[in-house]
């Protein structure tokens, strides 16, 4: 039986445009990068309102979408131009805020457990899972990956990332200094608009 074609819900369109069309760092909001051993790693701030709109469009209740958006979300891109295999395991990554001891990234499974307990739909949870940078990945030469990482820090926090990456069987440590969690104010300023 033929089905009626529905248009894209406006919320989804807005979320996609905000997240993937307007998420570029505005003037003054520069992405952070490291390169070495033929590997390029790049972290880009995602404005909280864009992240919230994206997840709301994927079926997250507004409060949960806002919770994700406030968790210091950075788009992470990894490009393997090393000519050999690459492995990445986020459980080895460490973040450090000022003089405090370094800490691992927040466990992604705890987010998923929380969403389940909060009654977030399976469809939304799957979208969350697949929009994240893979927790463990193996990249062949020439492959690239991108996805979000939730650093779990307060908006505006400055921190240091240490990211071990195994290239051709040998570990290399990417260090990225003075990364800053996106904040609503900064995002609004960079767009010349006001916070909604």
């Amino acid at each position: 039986m033929p089905r009626e074609t529905r248009g894209i819900p406006w919320l989804r369109a807005v979320g996609l445009v905000l997240l993937f069309g307007l998420t570029l760092p505005g003037p003054g909001a520069v992405p952070w990068a490291w390169s070495g051993a033929g590997v390029r790693l790049r972290l880009e701030p995602l404005p909280p309102e864009s992240v919230a709109a994206f997840y709301a469009a994927r079926g997250f209740p507004a409060a949960e979408a806002a919770r994700i958006a406030g968790a210091c979300v950075l788009q992470t891109k990894l490009i393997n131009d090393s000519g050999t295999e690459l492995e990445v395991d986020l459980s080895r990554w460490r973040i450090r805020v000022g003089p405090e001891p370094s800490q691992p990234l927040p466990d992604r499974r705890s987010w998923l457990r929380h969403f389940t307990a909060a009654g977030v739909s399976r469809q939304a949870r799957i979208a969350f899972e697949w929009s994240q940078f893979p927790w463990r990945a193996h990249l062949e030469p020439g492959e690239r990956l991108q996805g979000m990482i939730l650093y779990g820090l307060e908006p505006g926090t400055r921190f240091h990332v240490t990211a071990p990456i195994r290239v051709g069987g040998r570990w290399h440590e990417a260090h990225i200094e003075d990364v800053r969690c996106p904040s609503r104010d900064a995002a609004a300023q960079s767009k010349g608009g006001k916070v909604q």
Binding site: R3, R6, R58, K77, Q123, W130, P134, R144
Partner: protein
Amino acid sequence: MNAGRRRLLGALAWVVVTGAVAGPLTPVHHRPQAPDFELQGIDDETYRLRDYRGKVVVVNFWATWCPPCRKEMPSMRRAWERWRKHGIELLAVNVGESDDEVFAFAAEYDLKFPVLLDPSGRVVRQWGAIGLPSTFVVSPEGRVVYKATGAREWDSEEIFTLLRELLPKENTKTGRRARGFSRVGSSG
């Protein structure tokens, strides 16, 4: 340069980064057996991978909210128009979305090839995909021979050549002679 123009240039740069092609297809070592699946299509048909044995099958995992997935769909549609004339099949498996959403997307992009639904994400996990889009090429023997993580220009000549090389040899003079030699050899 004003802020708006800078942002526009920045946007274009971002598109280039995410849309860049990371080489044609990555060969899969050891060529593992492709995990079988049985999934519902948006056309209400049931699709089983095992029914495609003897053919080259391109299995694409994607989602409507994934920008690189959206980006590669037009080239996939064009590629399929060519591939199907050569017996190369395409199964596009949506990950975790409702059939209404996927149906609307397929209509918007005018997709004519089979679009399947993996609502729980079980199948995409079985295939070991690490991101979306992820695409796997299955040989006529049912083995995974190539993979692609991220978007590709699927209608490229380079990819078509790789896929065509996997097709069973046609019943040409060369093919008959080769089989003949094989029979002679085995009987001798």
